[in-house]
Amino acid sequence: MKSLAELEEIRKKALDKINIRKENNGVRIVVGMATCGIAAGARPVMNTIVEELKKRNINDVTVTMTGCIGVCRLEPIVEVLDPDGSRVTYVNMTPEKAQHIVSEHIVNGRICLDYTIGEVEKKEKSKA
């Protein structure tokens, strides 16, 4: 059985690490988690992002949720907001794409162009 005492261990270890942690660089990842997002599979996308950040021990990125972003047909939608105010909107997300975004965009700073709303809409239009 899990016991609350284990939390004390986790706390001690975490406190040691927090002291050496660098300033929060302020990147925010926002997942659309309204009815449309949830029904399209936003929950596993968000949990994959949290898992991937954890695997890489990235502590300075905030993951949060928001309501309906307004383009329900392109859900799940993930926005990456840089501290300088720039924003990248990724659409039609899957857990696999989310892994890619963490390793490419968050870690290496390279935007995953193929998943962005602009590219996806361009492709949709050329098909139509």
Partner: protein
């Protein structure tokens, strides 16, 4: 929605939009009466009578950007499809309580799905919201409270990876312990 945990996540977003900072969730299984009851009570701003009357209508929403709001009406449909019903109590300033009942053996009753992931994703995204989860099966109960956890980990945010991992295992263990005998039927619907 594919399962009850996704419905729950959706309803919890309503609580958050209603500025709730404390939500209690109760999931009770009673095999003797074949009932599964999900209750979500928040301390948000609540609804006035007019909104309360129309809130299960899909063409009611507090959103100003468009005229449809499906969260509550979808849950109502899921409950009624499975021999159950949806009830809402709310008044301005006193929060909102939503209860959905389901007949466990009904073929259309949605499976519970991954309750732990729903709770953990809310905690990860909104660390300031207090969540209280109670699981009941006959005489067995399980309790989880973010207030309790925060007391134990003062100085560490509750969405710290290791704390989240502990919470995940703790709730999973609770689900297995409480719903042991009916676990497959409740969680995966088989």
């Amino acid at each position: 929605m594919r399962d009850l945990s996704l419905h729950l996540l959706d309803i919890l977003q309503n609580s958050i939009s209603a500025k709730a900072d404390n939500v209690s969730i109760e999931l009770a299984v009673d095999t003797s009466t074949d009932k599964l009851a999900l209750k979500i009570a928040d301390n948000g701003i609540g609804m006035n009578e007019k909104l309360l009357k129309s809130v299960t209508d899909p063409f009611t929403t507090t959103r100003t950007s468009r005229k449809v709001g499906l969260g509550i009406s979808l849950l109502k449909a899921s409950a009624e499809r499975a021999g159950g019903e949806l009830m809402i109590q709310s008044s301005e300033g006193n929060g909102t309580t939503i209860s959905a009942n389901f007949s466990i053996s009904n073929i259309d009753r949605l499976p519970l799905g991954d309750l732990t992931e729903t709770i953990c994703s809310i905690i990860a995204a909104y660390m300031e919201i207090e969540i209280d989860l109670t699981l009941i099966n006959g005489s067995k109960t399980f309790q989880f409270s973010t207030i309790e956890i925060k007391k134990q980990i003062s100085g560490i945010p509750i969405n710290h990876y290791d704390v989240l991992e502990w919470i995940r295992e703790f709730i999973n263990e609770g689900i297995t312990t409480i719903f042991g005998g009916v676990l497959n039927e409740i969680v995966s619907g088989t």
